[in-house]
Symmetry: C2
Subunit: 333 residues, 2 copies
């Protein structure tokens, strides 16, 4: 499956397609707009649209299946899907690294792209606060000492010896330049799972703080972590914690803020500040989670008025009575 994500235990493929889920391997296998080959969908009037092809190339008319990928069920209900699956990799390696600064995280990513290239399948990061709550609430073990940032690098390939050689050359380089201070490598499945769980358990661990304000943004790499620091300065003691983690490889940051109970004052301090910050840096206010009900009225921070109008026209054309996943994704006129 070209898609993998933290929610893999509970999500459905139809939902993945409807929300254009991104996840941890988009870096390698691309977005569902490229890997979904066919869709069958049911329109608002009950018409079944059969675009359930499994062909890799088909340029006969408009590519209608794209309408249903990421439109959150508001243009049609996805009932069948055909997806291009890469071969299962014969060799998987995971390295977990400690970095002293976010600049080091970025420099290490640059080296990973250059030296691991076609076998690089994930490049994730978590900050010190994320590791702290993993240890505190979930009794997890930090395999390294304490560092401001942690990076998870995964390779997937067809030749174990080649992949390991590429990974070792990469690790020697980043240790020599000092961008990485410490690290551990896993090749057996149980150790790989343990390392991945440090990254994937963060959402669960955060809930132990009480209320979680979740933001899922795309930002240019240079500003990727700056928003976390600015948010920390802004909310100060009003929040229990401000953390950043996510998919460095795709520019997709999960910015989460916690407090013991829901606080309207804290929320007012976060929003619309967070959206304005992202818009100022030409980012996306929803990288992969979609707009749904909560964020549909903030769409103008990432999309132009003419684009929003065209979306409204399409919604009206395909669902004139507004019965498909109503009140979501696209703001009413």
């Amino acid at each position: 499956m070209p898609l993998d994500l933290g929610a893999k235990g509970s999500c459905h493929i139809g939902g993945n397609v409807s929300t254009n889920a991104g996840g941890i391997r988009l870096l390698r296998y691309g977005s569902l707009h490229g890997s979904v080959l066919g869709v069958e969908a049911v329109l608002a009037d009950g018409t079944v649209i059969d675009c359930l092809s499994s062909l890799r190339k088909d340029n006969t008319g408009y590519d209608l299946k794209q309408l249903f990928i990421g439109s959150e069920g508001t243009l049609g209900m996805v009932t069948k899907v055909s997806i291009l699956c890469p071969r299962r990799p014969k060799s998987v390696n995971v390295a977990f690294l400690g970095c002293s600064s976010f600049d080091d995280v970025l420099a290490t990513f640059k080296d990973a792209k250059g030296m691991l290239e076609e076998v690089l399948s994930a490049y994730e990061f978590l900050d010190h606060e994320c590791m702290k709550i993993n240890v505190k609430y979930l009794n997890m073990t930090n395999p390294l000492s304490d560092y401001p940032f942690y990076v998870l690098v995964e390779t997937s390939g067809s030749n174990a010896a080649h992949d390991e050689e590429k990974l070792n050359t990469f690790l020697e380089t980043v240790m020599e330049t000092g961008h990485v201070v410490d690290g551990t490598v896993a090749t057996d499945i149980s150790k790989i799972k343990n390392i991945w769980s440090l990254r994937e358990s963060i959402a669960e661990a955060l809930m132990h703080d009480g209320t979680v304000y979740k933001y899922d943004v795309t930002l240019p790499q240079d500003q990727f972590y700056e928003i976390v620091e600015d948010m920390r300065d802004r909310v100060g003691d009003a929040a229990t914690r401000v953390v950043g983690y996510g998919h460095v490889g795709d520019g997709n940051l999960h910015l989460n803020i916690t407090s013991p109970t829901h606080s309207p004052t804290l929320l007012a301090s976060i929003e619309p500040f967070v959206y304005e910050w992202v818009a100022k840096h030409s980012g996306s206010i929803s990288a992969e989670h979609g707009l749904g009900f909560k964020k549909k009225n903030y769409i103008q921070y990432s999309k132009s008025n003419s684009a929003i109008k065209l979306m409204q026209d399409m919604k009206k054309l395909m669902d004139p009575k507004g019965i498909l996943n109503p009140y979501k994704t696209v703001p009413s006129r």
Copy 2:
């Protein structure tokens, strides 16, 4: 650039995006629906739709840029594009192989996928007739002896030693099993160019026969070459030549038939036979060339009535006066 195609000397990026061009490396880098990150387009009423993001993840409302990819300019004029480009490979190898049967071409492809995997960047084939006209009309040299089929395998990767080792293991295997009878490998740029030109010159060489009837279809691998043989049987001496070549890796066959001058009798023998044949095998009557003016009324061979109706509705919504690339792609009601 993630896209490469025979027309690279004359085509434009805006046209590539508008036609969803596929080309020779789709196998590796996927379709433009995945690699185009942003589009600016002008609608029929002059509105500029700015979806010119360069973000890899952005789920804020409908992914409007998809409307302009492959709709052949009938929904809007593409004026700016942002494309995700892979790193330039540090190492490129090309092997040119001779096979005794099309089954051998397919068996060799299976081995290529399994053994070259992440470094495989193209898998193309040409039949004996294609090679014959390359030699006859363009004075090209066949680097091998005469075989019924020729295969071009390309690897692109970041480590020359690893890539060559993978390629050699693959070549040893396919020679041992007998799927490949003969072959040559190129690593220097001029020899690589010569081999690629054997594949890319076919369209030009065919024109020397006189009139060329071009079909660009996607078919399941098992039936991939059968249509060429069936067409040869069908048209007999009415045609100068029936040839097959193209992108085995994507299931995309270029089926071309030539005659000294335009012959309505020959054309009537080819069409709609070719479309019926493709539809019967659940293929696409236009893999990558689009429908344009000539093929728009054959769309029903690859798309259902409900899908065609939705396309017509979208065209009417976005271009009510029908002024954008008129009379093309979608049949009138």
